[in-house]
Symmetry: C2
């Protein structure tokens, strides 16, 4: 039966690919034995309730092998029918080309961009330990991932594995599908790593399985992995496209359907019926039994939760609140109003204002965890919290190390795990390093918050490698990403409020290195940022000119407004911390005769919103921040000039 | 004297930081001994001719320690005065906050974004081997880098070191400044890697130096590194901020000036004069001697070049041509005209057209080298070239492995080294992975070509993780990056021509997965793309509507034009492969009553150019490419509708 089960998975996957005439049959056919052993003997899950909070997590980091996961989910009784499998890779199906979080019950993470699955699994394993430290009776599960050579070659595998080894995440097991084949050919064309030695250097436990079809050997290796207190790499030697005539063991089995004839021959050799989508009765029955065992495990857990409800209803309610992702009841209007009164009223960098807000939030939101890629002090994310450490996961601060990409992917894993709100931080210019994982936050609509500071050429002396220019717009155009750039302390608190209120995607807070003066009326209409995206920083009933600005340039715009007012013009200044929302709500503003936008970054995204844009379409330079701003043309005179020129070209006032 | 020299470097660096009141004194003070040993005893260089082609290359991967490098360059007689050092971090100085390629003689690469220096050094070391295989008598040098903990924690260090180990780049030595301190505190807050074991797992040779002030031990280690045929990591245990009272060995020495009092006390303890920018005579004299020895080495090399000029003038001329970066004389109008006649005239994916162009170029341009991050077949960069292998570097194809970021940084190293034109390739969506290094290509104005295929949601079944949406605009807004998106085979050849003609920055070729029909007149006016950025794909003398489109959407625009023409409208279709150039030259077009832009990506960057934009501001989906295009609204009907609506709002024709 076991061999039957493995062949069932193999041929379901190959049939899916054949029926779609598109996809990756090789990985599922090679990795079916390890996946079967994992799902049948080790993974603790209840297919009838895929969101059971204390389930084991499984991430298919080698996401191109999606057919493997879909076959397993179907066999084990997840809500995924044979017809769903027949719809593989068709528009609107529940079986997309790569596993997509939200599309398929049992898929814990969107994978495909290689290496990120490992890092998200690290995040889930870390979240499990942190959640267990907070709710010891209710959290006690493992995290599993299957990764391929591509995952291990990507740099993020280094960052994530290093962090997991450092933190001693012993409940994490990564199965490496060691098939020695990549898309372009043999792995040894491009890689000679001793992966076992490499992972041992990270503090991992490594087990090798020399025959990836030996179910008992795989089982022993997984049992050993579970027993070891370190994170484990189980290196399983496999043959890509196992059983496929001619192409098994070659890259030809990787990314194309086997073809009807070759698939038929593979089935004939395996003694398999010459039909598509065959599931033998004994295999289905066995899977049902395993699923029943999983359900029983869940019932035991439900009893524990019920007992907690009995013994400590407040604690149980708190658990439920965190599971739902609701904010605490006392983080209300009054909380935000009080917070506003505590903010600095002298000129302050918004990264420092954010630090003050974060200190208050850390106290009020016990589920808020996060940290920095080694810039906690600089980004204002070091506010006196206790660090998470190997063996002691009760802290709220995560020292991610100089690993921006893994940080963002680990945060995705924490968010996907549930029970936490989370944030990361680095300099805005290094958003480039974490971008691939931020895109997955956005695609999976995870409310991860990125605190990205030093948000313009005003960074100064560190020079162009540390001065963001194109970054604001490049982040704004990732779908579902909210980019907020507050202009003072009050706006910074509003931005945090807006970020915490968002549950449908990530938020970037772009914050200044340099001090910014408090603006009038910053604290007057709580909730304005989430609603309108903008507010009027200098009012005018019937303006000649509107100056749109964000962040540090609002102050510049106000100074230019003074100059223009001195020339008899009426000028309105509008602070636009959230440009995309402003575009939706702009009609509430009314219009001026001319509009100028000012932002210390690319002009591209403002051009359709204004008659002229003062911005930065070149790299910065090393020098004092104010000198660099002048040097690239971010000056009061430039803004005033742009306004005068725009007015001259504008239609005369009626 | 030796100790004197080390102290000279330490205090020059600390004085620079103190005088700028900004910068990083700790790294230079700790790493001064290893840098001194390297520069005085191992680095083969001639400060009077910093661009000597056969010099050793040195990259300060820990770029925040720039003061260390400036001190060394000054002492060894590069054209960098004490006044230059006094101008540290001031606007317009030759001593910016991080080393900037082009600003300072002797600085081989812009560094600061951590880890990239190691990868660029790998690229230089690879270029040296490849160049030596082509010009054995003229190329025979080494590559050295100094890296910090941050460099080793970044994922790119994994990708680059793994590739260097695989390729056996034995002339590369990385000195690791093992000071156990990061910005936020002790390294062991966030990292427990056994770095020596890790690098051995990559096939590197590792030497450890337990006392980073022991000049003889450092010397022995570097000698051992030179003797070993593998790339070497020399792990040197240091103390950050060596000699600075209170802060030595702590993160307080990392990123802030020591302060006048602490610096004075450090000098007192070292028996150093209480003045700034002191260079003892014996140190200066010693450095001059070393420089003279370097110059002698260059003279020997010049003699070899002169001998080649004598014995084989054609070969010597070819060397000079490659050094200058000129294209071969026979890559001329005739070459391009002939190439145009060989291109497919049936519908063909532009990635396939590019493959045909690349095959011709590979033959015509012996200096053209490049490869793929394991997508050579898919991106059309596999055109029958011989791979570079350990011990055999005569090939032109580099199998980068699944390492997009290292690929881009290694290409920067190859370009910086000189003697080659180079390209990389992956899917456009994975531009996110290589973005940090592409930004450095742009900042350093290196003419690296990135062949990025599968350039829209038309990728189809692989789904949203593999479908670029925001990528075209996000690349266009990086300063100095040229993004070209050709619409057919002829435009693809033009795009390659434009890319090869560019020497002031990188070029991205965005190419389709799906077949695109040949357009009329595609081959008629060679050179149009570099000149105008656009061409008319369907002419109309006095158009009601202009349809602007790029790449695969030109065909869509042509189909919409047919529909609109059937309604009696005159429609012009403009193919815009290079939007930024089009913006400069748009006045040559004349205007239509209404303009609609169409591109399978973010609409943001087209909005100021058109009355309406048909684009994609959402993630794609898994399904057949054509179905996904329809699903996201990229249809003939949508374009025609947008044109009708735009016309209705337009001013009536005169």
């Amino acid at each position: 039966m076991r061999v039957n089960a493995v062949d069932t998975i193999r041929f379901l996957a190959a049939d899916m690919v054949q029926s779609a005439n598109s996809g990756h049959p090789g990985m599922p056919m090679g990795a079916a034995p390890m996946a079967w052993v994992l799902f049948s003997r080790h993974l603790r899950h209840d297919p009838s309730q895929p969101d059971w909070p204390d389930r084991d997590r499984f991430v298919l980091s080698a996401g191109h092998g999606s057919a493997l996961q879909y076959a397993l989910l179907h066999l084990f009784g997840y809500d995924l029918t044979l017809d769903d499998l027949r719809g593989f890779r068709q528009l609107g199906s529940r079986t997309p080309g790569h596993p997509e979080y939200g599309d398929t019950p049992g898929v814990e993470a969107t994978t495909g961009p290689l290496g990120q699955g490992i890092a998200m699994a690290v995040g889930m394993a870390l979240a499990e330990r942190m959640y267990a430290a907070r709710f010891p009776g209710l959290v006690d599960h493992r995290t599993w991932a299957i990764a391929g050579d591509g995952c291990l070659m990507e740099g993020i595998s280094h960052e994530a594995a290093s962090l997991a080894g450092h933190l001693g995440l012993g409940r994490l097991t990564v199965l490496w599908d060691d098939n020695r084949i990549t898309i372009d050919g043999a792995v040894d064309r491009s890689c000679s790593d001793d992966q076992s030695a490499r992972f041992r250097a990270y503090g991992w436990h490594v087990v090798e399985v020399s025959d990836g079809t030996d179910l008992e050997a795989i089982d022993r290796a997984l049992t050993e992995a579970v027993a070891d207190p370190r994170p484990s790499l189980v290196a399983v030697r496999t043959v890509i496209g196992h059983g496929a005539p001619d192409v098994a063991g070659t890259s030809a089995a990787h990314g194309s359907p086997l073809g009807a004839d070759r698939l038929a021959e593979a089935k004939r050799r395996a003694g398999w019926p010459d039909e598509a989508f065959v599931v033998p009765e004994d295999v289905r029955a066995a899977c049902e039994q395993y699923a029943t065992a999983g359900r029983a495990a869940r019932f035991v857990w439900e009893e524990r939760l019920a007992a907690l409800r009995e013994s400590d209803p407040a604690r149980a309610a708190e658990w439920q609140r965190r599971q739902r992702g609701d904010l605490p009841a006392d983080v209300d209007e009054e909380f935000w109003a009080h917070l506003a009164t505590t903010l600095p009223d002298a000129p302050t960098a918004t990264r420092q204002s954010s630090r003050a807000v974060l200190a208050a939030l850390t106290e009020a939101l016990p589920e808020l965890v996060g940290g920095s890629a080694d810039l906690a002090g600089s980004t204002g994310t070091d506010a006196g919290t206790v660090p998470v450490r190997r063996g002691d996961y009760g802290g709220a601060r995560i020292d991610f190390g100089i690993r921006e990409l893994a940080m963002a992917a680990v945060l995705n894993g924490i968010a996907l795990h549930g029970g936490f709100r989370c944030f990361g931080s680095t300099f805005l210019v290094f958003a480039d390093y974490l971008r691939p994982a931020l895109r997955l936050s956005a695609l999976m609509r995870q409310p991860v918050i990125q605190v990205l500071t030093h948000d313009s050429v005003a960074v100064g002396e560190d020079g162009p490698t540390h001065q963001p220019v194109e970054h604001l717009d490049s982040l704004r155009i990732i779908p579902n990403v909210r980019v907020l750039r507050p202009a003072d302390a009050g706006e910074t608190a509003e931005a945090w409020r807006c970020a915490l209120g968002a549950t449908d995607g990530p938020t970037v807070l772009a914050l200044s290195r340099q001090a910014l003066p408090p603006l009038d009326g910053a604290h007057t209409t709580p909730g304005w940022l989430a609603r309108d995206g903008f507010r009027v920083a200098r009012a005018s009933a019937d303006p000649d000119v509107d100056l749109l600005a964000s962040g540090s340039e609002v102050d510049l715009a106000l100074a230019a407004a003074e100059v223009l007012a001195g020339e008899g013009l009426t000028v309105r200044v509008v602070s636009v911390p959230w440009r995309e929302r402003f575009e939706v709500r702009r009609d509430r503003l009314g219009s001026a005769r001319a509009t100028v936008a000012v932002e210390a970054g690319s002009t591209l995204g403002w051009r359709h919103l204004a008659d002229a844009v003062v911005g930065v379409d070149r790299f910065g330079a090393s020098g004092a921040g104010s000198a660099v701003r002048d040097h690239v043309g971010l000056t009061v005179a430039a803004v005033a000039d742009a306004a005068r020129t725009a007015l001259r070209s504008a239609a005369p006032s009626p």
